[in-house]
Amino acid sequence: MKYISEYRNADLVRGVIDEIARTVTRDWVLMEICGGQTHAIVRHGIDQLLPEEIELVHGPGCPVCVTPLEQIDRALAIAAKPDVIFCSYGDMLRVPGSSDDLFSIRAAGGDVRVIYSPLDAVKIAQENPDKEVVFFAIGFETTAPANVMSVMQAKMLGVRNYSILVSHVRVPPATHAILGSPENRVQGFLLAGHVCAVMGYWEYPDIAKKYDVPMAITGFEPLDIVQGILANVQQLEAGRTDIENAYPRAVTFEGNKAAQNMIAKVFRECDRKWRGIGTIPTSGWELRPEFDAFNAEKRFDVDAITTDESPLCIAGEILQGLKKPHDCVAFGKECMPENPLGATMVSTEGACAAYYKYGRGVE
């Protein structure tokens, strides 16, 4: 299809990788923020084609992976209630909570439904007025426009049995947290192209300057990714720290204003805990108090949650670029996609799942 095949052209990809090899003179560590890019990199073998001076570490941009355990446990508690229809994006179903996952709640008779768009959940609420319909509103800036529209829609249509369990996270505070850490190794960033398609990239120049780290807005096809890497390497070698847009066909500096405005109407910033990483200030979105009626945490009494994470799981360090999946003792042994100990082994955006699927570090 148009806009895809050219960006998968192996000759062009190889040509850009050759250019990276000609440009690089010393070792550099780059992080791709987005888990979708992690999967594309490993799937197309880009990590193995790059000159050895370039090391890619994998970022926290996997919504399923960073949704905190408390919030999963809360989802499980709500989904297990008899009068609730619990709606979720498909990738959340196998994410392990402290003792269960949504699949096992469904197997035990809970009404858990996978939906494609949150508007479907509003429709389900309209069709089931005697049930409470709860949607698990997780994700980064890419799912926020859809999730807030579902609340607006429910409000406009007077749907009273619809609420959302919010666990939203934002990328810029996470880049602050990674770069500000004393253990940080990241010298350049591939910024998540679709997050920037929504939010623009006006928030990043200050971060790049503050930490003296170049960044490139990067798409998801192989050619997009190697271009983002080249843009970083060129800047690093030249001692520049700018933001380069290596995905201009989809991303503008301002982003999608209509979406940003709607998000600001429904959500406000909050501190948010990231699974395995900890609380990052202002890194989340929550519903504004005007929308309390649509806030599942207010509607259901599920506050007394104590969580229990697998002691083996090092996903938090992996998501900050400090370790790789095969550094985990459980990787491919106790922890496998069929029986995951951590969320990064579940998701189609999780680094552990990518390494396992494409045989990195597995004998």
């Binding site: 040509g15 250019e19 768009s117 508007l119 890419t142 859809a146 529209m149 066909r249």
Partner: protein
Amino acid sequence: MCLGVPGKIIEIDDSKELRMAKIDFGGIVREACLEYLPEAKVGDYTIIHVGFALSLLSEEEAMESLAMIREIINLEEELGEE
């Protein structure tokens, strides 16, 4: 869920509360909400996230960046042949 997928707008329906469209993803057709792209027209390419069109794909920018890449690569081949 977080991954955006490019598709082509093949039909727009303005008759409901929300502006909706039919999107062709290389043969598979699905519905998506166009509220965030009021300027979108039939024939445009867009990136869809969980049933919402969030950005238009610019053909001009796409062509320009491909031309730029070809230039980098040709330049390299020329230098290599010397």
